[in-house]
Symmetry: C2
Subunit: 327 residues, 2 copies
Amino acid sequence: MRYLIGVDIGGTNIKLALVDKKARLRGRKTFSTTSFEGKSDLIDGIVSQIKALVSGAGLSKNNIIGVGIGAPGAVDIRTGTVHYLTNIPDWREVPLGNILKKRLGLPVFVDNDVNVMALGEVYFGAGIGAVNMLCITLGTGVGGGLILDGKLYRGSSYAAGEFGHVPINISGPKCKCGSWACVEAYAGNNYIVKDVIADIRKGAKTLITKLVKGDLSKITPEIISEADRKGDRFAKKVWTDVGNKVGIGLAGVVNLLNVEKIVIGGGVAEAGKILFDSIKKTINARAMKLPAKTVRIVKAKLGYDAGLIGAATLVLYELGKENVTKN
Amino acid sequence: MRYLIGVDIGGTNIKLALVDKKARLRGRKTFSTTSFEGKSDLIDGIVSQIKALVSGAGLSKNNIIGVGIGAPGAVDIRTGTVHYLTNIPDWREVPLGNILKKRLGLPVFVDNDVNVMALGEVYFGAGIGAVNMLCITLGTGVGGGLILDGKLYRGSSYAAGEFGHVPINISGPKCKCGSWACVEAYAGNNYIVKDVIADIRKGAKTLITKLVKGDLSKITPEIISEADRKGDRFAKKVWTDVGNKVGIGLAGVVNLLNVEKIVIGGGVAEAGKILFDSIKKTINARAMKLPAKTVRIVKAKLGYDAGLIGAATLVLYELGKENVTKN
């Protein structure tokens, strides 16, 4: 049997896993990103942990097809260059792919974290069979990955898919990207929570206040969802509003790209039916009839391990040279 | 020598041309769409006019590589089915491509009018060399065509590219598509003129009123541009505002698709530098740094004959099976 290695590099955690060709995890390791002292220490850590994963499973290098890595931001896939890494200050324009290829003697592929999640979903999750698809993650950031004409679409400087920074209003709240009124500036975790706190301070009556025992700094999307499940009107309106904002951005995507599927993952997607219903309602109101009728809005399936499975899938995608919709 | 036939079917006019492989027009005909009595008469007319074009140039069927047709709306390219034609009421779901193929004994390809313009621009115009490109037309409608990864991108039901119906605000003016606050609802000819008339009625002082001798129904984008060229502040603000609205929509496209080129054609594009400067300014303010740095905003080059040349180019694209960026 031959296996894949998936590596999911995030600002908070770095996860590694040994994955079989059917996307089943056969071994995994998770580290805090801050536990590494800097660039060299992090690279050494990835190398030694990959070796430990392989030997720990009683395998050797010959059992490994390749290593796939998902990392934040635009990744130059020709060299596997990751431009920045939050929490690793001396990380600047590091050709991680080329470095690991040499050190491991294995094929190594690096791509944007949401791009690899899109691949994972289209090979093994909610996107199976889709030829044109947008995969979005609703979390602290709002990210996107595009499968177009059966292939991962990366754009002219590997920066495509930034659904979170599609503007949905002429004016509006400042976004961390430097612009304003982006989807993320309404639907990113921190923005949702900030708006809820502001509303409560202005006198909004909601169960949320009781659930956090008055400590508004404890409000999270999960707490808002808990209040919603208990019938809280204010919480319902929060998710309906977030769904509307995400839906406006998606209506633009539906009209522009006529995708057949939109896969939605990330923590905020756990808000569930009320959020999805609002998204669908807005798309039906604001997208054109034919493309609105064509598109299916579905929840991501790979959950917590989406990044790891996606990273491993990148190896299949790159080496398979096959249309990603075929398994 | 072998030639192409290009046919540009619009709501107002139907244009046909004999075109050589370097996109030079060797003969042309134009008819009013309303001069045909209905579906059958229109199809008969296209067949006889193509034959007349060929024989009039002293050529025979053997000299013709194929026929390319651009038509409004989503076109099912498998059968060449055009769903609706304004001004031809009995036209419903007509498989024009299949019908003409049989009647002419030639390869016939049909696609959306802005899709073929995008092909024309990428083969012979402002888009030469572009791998990822959006081509938009600013006219009565605002249309779009996408070249992605070197190929015409059509979407899952051949409806992709509707840049004019990307929403750019949460609320806003009604759009003819049924939604509101679409790019077209701010930047379409009629919407621009309607807003100008409303402003003048509310007391705005502008040279435009003098140029139309007080008859506000005579206001056109050309008149607004004439006033702008003569230094009229109000007219300048009109184009700056339109550029801002188009720029917001394009910022979303730049972030989502990371295209390297945006080609802008159509009558409103004639407003020139003031419009383009405003579009660029908005993209720089509202798109992310890397994709904003990557994209070039340029004026379409094929002008009045873009539809005809694009239609002929469709034949080269479909038969060439080559990457469209190669000539």
